[in-house]
């Protein structure tokens, strides 16, 4: 069972401001049934730009409902300008914190608020559309690079796991994890593997040791291992020491007379092309 604060439990069991609003001045809808949570936020805003009332409808878990309830409480009485500054962190703080794995519920609140304010200003419809907001990164949850980058910066996220907890990106099929690593590097001012600003720079140029190791793992997992598995073999990454990459051949490849040719002709060649031309393969 999740460790929810008493405030989270209270807002879940006794949600404030739940329901619809017929004469809303701004409506924001985010999420979907397929994605597992969704929020529709209604705002009533007076002529002076003060939020007089806020209501919500939420499909989701206890923290999604509690975050929505907290958001509406935070919004009432605020000016539009003040509301614009509200972040997911404010929502989580209001509730006394959320489990890290549930922080995406608070981000959903922030996104619904932004959409409702856009809708109030006549800049958009009620439903959040992603098409014009950058590059699609996570296909499973429909997340674009800009919103992921913003979550990374605003919440000072350090790891892919954090990004998944806060945005859901990477929580489905996992194909976008290398992209998320690049966005993390980008957000922290480092050169991303895929950005390749200089034509001659190898893919691993500018990566931290950890990112470099992830890239090596990724090439092994996605490019090399499937080829070896076709012949009943496999490979294990043992260690990485600068340009020396230590691996162990497994299965049919382990006892194969051509194992040296496999190591140099396939493993080393692939890693040199896709990571760093200086890489040297060694048996660990």
């Amino acid at each position: 069972m999740w460790e929810y604060t008493d405030l989270v439990k209270d807002h879940f069991l006794n949600p404030r401001n739940a329901g619809t609003m017929d004469d809303a001045d701004g409506i924001g809808e985010v999420g979907s049934l397929a994605c597992g949570d969704a929020l529709k936020l209604y705002l009533k805003i007076d002529d002076n730009g003060i939020i007089q009332d806020a209501k919500f409808q939420t499909f989701g878990c206890a923290s999604a409902i509690a975050s929505s309830s907290a958001l509406t409480e935070l919004l009432k009485g605020k000016s539009v300008e003040e509301a614009q500054k509200l972040t997911n962190k404010d929502i989580a703080d209001y509730l006394g914190g959320l489990p890290r794995e549930k922080m995406h519920c608070s981000v959903m609140g922030q996104e619904a608020l932004e959409q409702a304010l856009k809708n109030y200003r006549g800049e958009a419809g009620t439903v959040a559309e992603h098409q014009h907001e950058g590059e699609l990164i996570c296909e499973c949850f429909g997340l674009m690079d800009e919103e992921i980058l913003r979550a990374i910066k605003e919440n000072d996220l350090k790891t892919v796991e954090d990004v998944t907890n806060f945005t859901k990106a990477g929580g489905g099929c996992g194909k976008c994890i290398p992209d998320l690593e690049n966005l993390l590097a980008q957000a922290h001012g480092e050169k991303a593997a895929c950005s390749v600003p200089e034509a001659s720079a190898p893919p691993a140029a500018g990566l931290t040791n950890m990112q470099r190791m992830h890239l090596i793992e990724q090439v092994i997992d996605e490019e090399i291992r499937p080829m070896l598995q076709k012949d009943g073999g496999n490979i294990e990454l043992v260690d990485v020491d600068r340009t020396d990459v230590y691996v162990r051949l497994l299965g049919m490849c382990a006892g194969c007379p051509s194992s040296q040719a496999t190591l140099t002709g396939l493993v080393e060649a692939q890693l040199r092309e896709k990571v760093d031309p200086e890489i040297s393969i060694k048996e660990g």
Partner: protein
Amino acid sequence: MQTIYMDNNATTKVDPEVLGEMMPYFTDLYGNPSSMHRFGGQIGAKMVEARKRVADLLGCEPDEIIFTACGTESDNTAIRSALSARPDKKHIVTSRVEHPAILSLCKHLEKREGYAVTYLSVDESGNVDLEEFRKSLRDDTAIVSVMWANNETGVIFPVEEMATICRERDIIFHTDAVQAVGKVAIDLRKTPIDMLSLSGHKLHAPKGIGALFVRKRLPYRPFLIGGHQERGRRAGTENTAGVIGLGKACELAGQHIEDENTRVKALRDRLENGLLDIIPHARLNGDRQNRLPNTTNISFGYIEGEAILLMLDQLGICASSGSACTSGSLEPSHVLRAMGVPYNFAHGSIRFSLSRYNTEEEVDFIIENLPKVIETLRKLSPFSAEGDDGSSCTTPRSTE
């Protein structure tokens, strides 16, 4: 507030008679059965009795039983043993709806140790197709491991037929019967099943004790290597109290199996029908006939499972959900997804798993109160049956 416990596929209450038999082995009779002195040695006789009780429930010989720490250890031992015994064979067959004790191991073997794994699909009722199973077998298949009954839906797989097919092809057949033991009749003398896993805490014994049936003369390689316990097949000082408790629990399970299939089944049906009759947009997950007598898995459309569970918890009702939010995962139950349950229902699934301790009053309390919970959450939800059908997302979604 009373506690209504209907999460028995997760774990069960230790039967007082089981506890009663175990107690002396925590207090007065604490010796090590491997010791040379009589104080330790006297425990051996009780362990012989326990081993026979387990064997009697399964219809096998006592020396075909190896005591382990849990179902996961039994599963891992079975698969690793089969692979070690047949090092030339590099293919495994299992199903997409197995417990993580099998699925995670298979994925590890596939990714890290060079094995090929075929994951059998299931239809919308959660059943496997025997023809697809036949076609999945290869000359280099070392082991087939398929669960006897699914922990989430209760659907029973045709493991005896599958084992027969495997025997014809000289392929080792293992079944994870953790959910089936004590709920369905098992007679291993009449089937060609080679290995079977069970777990004590699913049948009113304590946590921390399990068993693995290994058919006589089957090539076997131990997973835990060390001392000579379990005739060298599982090293480590025995959990003597646990073994004795498991033995008693198996004896009681044999006595209660008819009750499980009549009274408990009737309670389950009363609960299931009561909820499905009253609550709109609710659907049963899994084959209505071919399943465990104690399990029902119902999805409530347009709301989310964790929220339902927490509201039930406020009423003292314990159940479980295949909702993503209960696990920290972002995808709902792999079992429900493999069955093709639409997202709008998969996220709102609740599993009730009953035991011999449940009563009609408890069932009626749930029938009376759960509809109010569903109604409360649906009032909060922006979706309704007339709107989004949940099969599409406002955002793109990759296919599995």
